[in-house]
């Protein structure tokens, strides 16, 4: 039996089927979206902008040459909804938007205040998007402004906030999911990290990691925590890897600067017999003194203990004040207290479930920071001091 013709046909079919691909989009037909922004304009329409790589300019210096030869460009679209705005933006793009590499999404302050409920769904529904996404609120500005800031260190400015976030000791890529988890949970309130655009004494405008934005249960921005307050909150939630503190040491004529690493956090909840909820927060860490403006010689154990106690006491106060501020001003549980209560006292949680908004502001919180100062660097007392100044 001669099977050769059949084999040839099968072979040709294989070639025809495997060599082509219906879904192939050539790389030259794609445009990579590295960051995008959403804003609400004064007339109530949405504006979506994207920062796209300009592949032919990638090799050149980011700011080199005359205007228009940057390694990226920004395109915008305006419409009644987010999708309509994207549609308008696509009308100006010669290529298909590919979002697999997008890591940052800026949300303008006005949109955040108005509520971001309608913004969130597409990021998880559309398989072309990544859930590993950082969403940012742009404090006092629009998302577009944040996209437009050229950042000197990075070729693509969109990479900057992501790297800043990492450099200051945050967790990157998780903010979108964290938002969803908090807002879908009973009683919790979500947060997002914040950037703002600053122009200080340095000549150029730049992007600054500001802190965290607090959202209420209606997806609306209600307030901000500044950088240090935000870091305290992350410390409580065990999501921080680097923090520096500067605290005054009373009676020692100055302050010490401490860098903390290896963070620990324990939150203990308790419910009194008359159903008052209490939280006890124990924050721990290993610290290193990097700056000493006091007259203390840290080779003496008592001096190190003095500084350590001062740092711990004052940081505890600051953390308490931050929690108090959130409780009084915003009434939003951004510390996962409700989850802590659920883990530790599930039956009480079940009873209090629906009324957490009323309970949270009245929770009695005690904070106890316990940083262990382990190292003080290469120097005992400051070198510039005279013998008589050193204690």
């Amino acid at each position: 039996m001669n099977r050769r013709p059949a084999a040839v046909v099968a072979w040709l079919l294989c070639i025809a089927l495997t060599a082509g691909c219906w879904d192939r989009t050539e790389i030259s037909d794609r445009v990579f979206d590295l960051a995008a922004s959403a804003d609400l304009k004064e007339n109530g329409t949405y504006m979506i902008a994207g920062q796209f790589i300009n592949p032919s300019r990638m090799e050149e210096s980011p700011k080199g040459g005359s205007g228009g030869s940057k390694s990226y460009f920004i395109e915008t679209g305006t419409g009644q909804s987010a999708l309509e705005s994207i549609q308008k933006m696509r009308q100006k793009l010669s290529r298909v938007i590919t979002r697999g590499h997008r890591r940052n999404y800026y949300i303008g302050e006005s949109l955040a205040k108005n509520g971001i409920k309608d913004m969130l769904d597409a990021f998880s529904r559309d398989p072309g998007n990544r859930i590993r996404l950082d969403m940012w609120v742009v404090k006092g500005g629009t998302g577009l402004q944040a996209l437009e800031v050229p950042y000197p260190l990075e070729k693509i400015p969109a990479v900057a906030p992501f790297k800043i976030h990492k450099a200051v000791g945050g967790t990157t890529g998780t903010t979108y999911l964290d938002y969803l988890m908090a807002s879908s949970a009973e009683g919790e309130s979500p947060t997002l990290p914040v950037v703002d655009i600053v122009k200080g004494s340095s000549p150029q405008k730049t992007i600054r990691f500001y802190g965290r934005a607090i959202f209420n249960r209606d997806y609306r921005l209600v307030g901000y925590l500044n950088f240090v307050e935000g870091a305290y909150r992350q410390w409580i939630l065990h999501k921080i890897s680097y923090l520096d503190l500067v605290e005054e040491v009373p009676g020692a004529g100055g302050s010490v600067g401490v860098v903390i690493s290896r963070f620990g956090s324990k939150v203990k909840s308790s419910v009194t017999p008359d159903h008052k909820v209490k939280m006890r927060i124990e924050l721990s860490g290993a610290g290193q003194i990097v700056e000493n403006h006091t007259n203390l010689d840290f080779r003496e154990l008592k001096n190190l203990t003095l500084a350590q106690n001062a740092v711990n006491r004052q940081t505890s106060e600051h953390v308490s004040a931050m929690i108090g501020k959130v409780q009084k001003q915003y009434g939003t549980d951004v510390f996962g207290f409700v989850q802590t209560l659920n883990r530790q006292h599930p039956s009480e949680w079940k009873r209090l479930k629906g009324q957490w908004e009323h309970i949270f502001p009245g929770i009695e919180v005690t904070v106890n920071v316990n940083v262990n100062l382990k190292y003080f660097g290469l120097v005992g007392p400051p070198l510039q001091f005279r013998e008589s100044e050193i204690k």
Binding site: W22, D23, R130, I131, M181, A185, N342, Q344
Partner: protein, 361 residues
């Protein structure tokens, strides 16, 4: 056609793990929240029991397939009527599996390739292995593909370590209770319980006694893998989000990012599930065609493939959308699983053992 105990283990593991992990994690989390892993444990116990029954039942009549001995146990006509429902289930199930596979591929990879091409390519591969190699070919595929899916499973576990938050598993039991946990165990139990297919396979084993340990180990290993995947999903996404995801494990894999370096590895996961579905599909294709050949008394069993494949192909194209497949899943859960995979085997086992005992006396 011969099948070794080792091959049976891999076949059962591969077919039970892939689809269970991909399709059945969402529902337990929806009803049992962070206690979904308890549901999986319960599902494992249930499916171990049903597998045990299926194996024991087959060992009553060594060398005979389900098609043959159920006619002995129940008598010719009653047996035929019952078997007809099994054949119908297998054909429809093969079609639905094919469609579920194609839908997943559509979502994850290709959205402009026509669905029937995606289906046809997979169907072609299964038909090829079934036709040319029969059960032996499938068994050998299982030997190769099974370990690959274990490696894939381990990689998912290792890469996702960073995203684990053990606190998300707490509190255990307090928020849910026995009923939700039991309810959540049904769907994974029904998928793991598809190891019932051994009733058609043990007849091909030269040493049928080995079937019991192989099948039970296969189900246990698959359950352990599904348990790990359930834990990963809950530890990554918490108890609320995965309940609303269609493929929670797939989403968890897309979320993986190891040191900003190993990212977007979802294609790897897709590949793993495709090979798992390939094994399952081929097994069902073999069982259906061999079974119907025995049922209708056709000498050359491979001839029946050419009747079954068009049916399967048409069935796979029938559902208009995802929801209609969900209706089949509901029907599967409410009718097919309790009756065909639990009730009837149990009944047959009891009647069969009684018959054997009275015969020997």
């Amino acid at each position: 056609m011969k099948l070794s105990g080792y091959q049976l283990f891999w076949l059962i593991f591969t077919m039970a793990f892939g689809m269970t992990a991909l399709f059945t994690v969402s529902l337990p989390i929806a009803v049992a929240k962070q206690d979904a892993w308890l549901s999986t444990v319960l599902a494992a116990l249930i499916s171990l029991f049903t597998t045990f029954v299926a194996v024991r039942l087959s060992l009553l009549y060594p060398g005979q397939t389900f098609i043959e001995y159920s006619q002995v146990i129940l008598g010719r006509w009653l047996g035929k009527i019952m078997l007809l429902s099994y054949l119908a289930t297998w054909v429809s199930l093969t079609g639905i599996i094919l469609r579920e596979y194609a839908d997943f591929v559509y979502l994850a990879l290709f959205d402009s390739t026509p669905l029937w091409i995606v289906i046809l390519v997979m169907l072609g591969a299964s038909v090829y292995v079934t036709c040319s190699g029969g059960l032996r070919g499938i068994g050998r595929c299982g030997e190769i593909i099974g370990p690959i899916s274990v490696v894939g499973c381990l990689l998912i576990i290792i890469f996702s370590v960073n995203d684990w938050d053990w606190l998300r598993l707490l509190p255990v039991y307090a928020n849910t209770g026995l009923l939700p946990i039991a309810k959540g165990s049904l769907l994974p139990a029904s998928f793991l319980g598809e190891s019932f297919i051994v009733v058609m396979l043990i007849a091909f084993m030269p040493k049928p006694r080995r079937a019991q340990i192989s099948a039970l180990l296969g189900v246990a290993a698959a359950s352990a893998a599904v348990l790990a995947m359930t834990l990963i999903v809950v530890m990554t996404f918490g108890p609320n989000i995965p309940a609303r995801l269609i493929y929670p494990l797939y989403s968890a894999v897309t979320y993986i990012s190891v040191m900003e370096f190993i990212q977007n590895i979802d294609v790897l996961a897709v590949l793993l599930w495709i090979v798992a579905i390939f094994i399952k599909l081929s097994l069902y294709l073999f069982v259906t065609s061999y079974g119907s050949a025995q049922f209708f008394g056709i000498k050359r069993w491979k001839n029946t493939i050419w009747f079954i494949v068009p049916m399967v192909f048409v069935i796979s194209l029938l559902p208009r959308n995802f929801d209609i497949e969900m209706i089949y899943t509901k029907f599967w859960l409410a009718v097919i699983y309790p009756i065909s995979l639990v009730g009837i085997p149990l009944l047959l086992w009891m009647v069969g053992s009684l018959r054997k005992r009275t015969l020997s006396h």
